[in-house]
């Protein structure tokens, strides 16, 4: 077995457990919410509810935990795995290659599970007497086929994973200085540009509007551009990284 294969095996060792635990918890919460709503007619809404269209999706609420998982995964990848791999005689380049492969594998698993859940959710919500949420800006559960939904989700997750991967590397290299730096940038931004919560809300509304207006190919190109830039920047940072105590 050559060194790249050994590093891949090393990373998959930890991945299986964390991905398994994450989805077990998430699926349990999803099922529990269906039971609460179906059997007990509970008013608890765990998921995404659109008051304008009066539509509801329970599994759409998984997106936020998935984002959080990817952030933690990106940081742990370098905070723990990188240090251990370097300690056990792995080159930075081999480690990084296997990180990208590992991210692709995680994203593939996540997009397959999440897109299947989205389709199932549409049917269950209908059965429970709710109007299911089918329109998600970048895909539509009713009109788009499952492969398209899967690929779109994969692109979305990979974009997030590439950003969190870069964040993980920067956190490994600069530690607390990174967060101080971000804090300073945010504070300066707030002082200089009157950067208030209202501005953030306005910006996010513009983004949502843009998301609706942008054509799918444009979203695709932007997504790929972010992925490539983040992974390239990440490599230039990690190839200069020392092992830390």
């Amino acid at each position: 077995m050559d060194s790249t294969k050994r590093v891949l095996k090393f990373q998959t060792y930890g991945m299986k457990k964390s991905v398994g635990v994450f989805w077990s918890v998430l699926l349990t919460i999803n099922i529990f919410t269906y039971i609460l709503i179906g059997y007990f007619n509970s008013n608890i809404r765990i998921g995404i509810f659109d008051s304008r269209t009066n539509t509801f999706s329970i599994v759409a609420g998984n997106i936020m935990p998935i984002f959080i998982f990817l952030i933690v995964y990106g940081i742990v990848m370098y905070h723990e795995d990188f240090a251990l791999a370097l300690n056990f005689g792995v080159t930075r380049k081999d480690f990084y290659k296997s990180v990208i492969f590992n991210n692709l594998l995680v994203i593939l698993v996540f997009s397959v599970i999440q897109s299947t859940l989205q389709v199932i959710d549409k049917n269950i919500m209908g059965l429970l007497g709710y109007k299911p949420m089918v329109e998600f800006s970048i895909f539509n559960i009713s009109t788009d086929n499952i492969w398209f939904i899967m690929l779109t989700l994969a692109l979305l997750f990979l974009t997030i994973a590439s950003i969190t991967n870069l964040l993980g590397i920067l956190q490994y290299r600069f530690g607390y200085k990174l967060w101080i730096g971000l804090g300073v940038v945010f504070t300066v931004g707030q002082i200089m540009g009157n950067f208030t919560i209202k501005t953030i809300i306005a910006l996010s509304e513009i983004l949502l509007w843009l998301q609706g207006k942008l054509h799918y190919p444009t979203v695709l190109i932007i997504g790929f551009a972010i992925i490539i830039i983040c992974y390239i920047l990440g490599y230039f940072q990690i190839k200069k990284a020392n092992i830390k105590k």
């Binding site: 005689g89 020392n242 830390k244």
Partner: protein, 296 residues
């Protein structure tokens, strides 16, 4: 096997290693000695590519080590584990080591776990300092890497465990010869393991010699001051002690047959300087500006 040329490393403005030149031969046990902060760990980290150098070359079998999988897969550096992995269970760390070291000997690992009576189900964090050290020793021994480096391998180990490790190391070395570098402060305990000694002092390698040669060249002379003074006048004195009229002098250099005969005739006792003491005396003298074998 391993060749280091003009290696330099500094942390910011703090220079740690200057113009290091070193050749490590195949299938030998080396002792890397140096005072605290001499740069031993930095040198070992550089050899195993764990940190970046400022300049210079490190080549294994004539191939650059840095970012070279063919080279680094032959190197195993055993040192204190990074804090970030201490939440992991010992069995997971050993399983990962098995995946990453190409010559890993699983059977031997199991034997070592039993020998050291290590609880592999515990988290690394929950182990005593000695047991954490043992995890590293097991990895180093079972990795069967061509170049195995132990940085402070006996940290927190009691005497019984330390001697168990020395015996296991020698036993394995005889069966599977490889190159071993041991960096330690417990010099006398491991002196018998070393074939060569490298002394790192004040950013530089100030001595590299066979242990047998070092022992042959260093003596304590003990006797009446006036009689001793006659032999030591042309010698390199590395230590001096006086008790009334009795003088103990540590010398570094060869004694001629006449000098040995003179010593016997005049009741001057000649004994070898233990390696640990020799190291202390040499580093003290090197600090004063003397270099003993002109290695650099």
């Amino acid at each position: 096997m391993l060749e280091i040329r003009k290696l330099n490393k500094s942390y910011g403005k703090n220079k740690v290693l200057t113009d290091i030149n070193l050749i490590i031969e195949e299938n030998k046990i080396y002792g890397l000695l140096g005072r605290n902060g001499a740069g031993k760990t930095t040198l070992l980290n550089l050899i195993s590519s764990q940190i970046l150098r400022n300049s210079g070359e490190i080549r294994l079998d004539n191939e650059e080590v840095f970012e070279n999988p063919k080279a680094v897969e032959n190197i195993c550096l055993v040192k204190d584990f990074p804090d970030s992995i201490k939440e992991r269970k010992v069995k997971d760390i050993l399983a990962l080591a098995k995946v990453l070291y190409k010559n890993w000997d699983e059977e031997y690992k199991n034997y070592l776990v039993k020998e050291f009576n290590l609880n592999v189900k515990k988290k690394l964090l929950k182990l005593s300092t000695g047991n954490k050290t043992i995890v590293g020793l097991i990895i180093g021994l079972a990795s069967k890497s061509r170049l195995t480096i132990f940085d402070e391998p006996t940290l927190g180990l009691d005497a019984a465990m330390r001697y168990k490790f020395y015996n296991l190391l020698l036993e394995d070395y005889e069966k599977n010869p490889r190159t071993i570098i041991i960096s330690t402060h417990l010099i006398d305990e491991v002196a018998n393991l070393f074939e060569e000694v490298i002394i790192l002092n004040e950013e530089r390698i100030t001595l590299k010699d066979e242990v047998s040669t070092l022992k042959e060249r260093s003596y304590f002379l003990s006797g009446r001051e006036d009689l001793i003074n006659a032999i030591i006048k042309d010698k390199r004195i590395i230590h001096r002690e006086e008790f009334g009229t009795t003088k103990i002098v540590g010398i570094y250099g060869n004694l001629t047959e006449e000098e040995i005969k003179y010593s016997k005739d005049n009741n001057i006792e000649i004994s070898n300087i233990p390696l640990q003491k020799l190291f202390i005396y040499l580093t003290e003298n090197i600090m004063k500006g003397e270099c003993y074998n002109g290695f650099n």
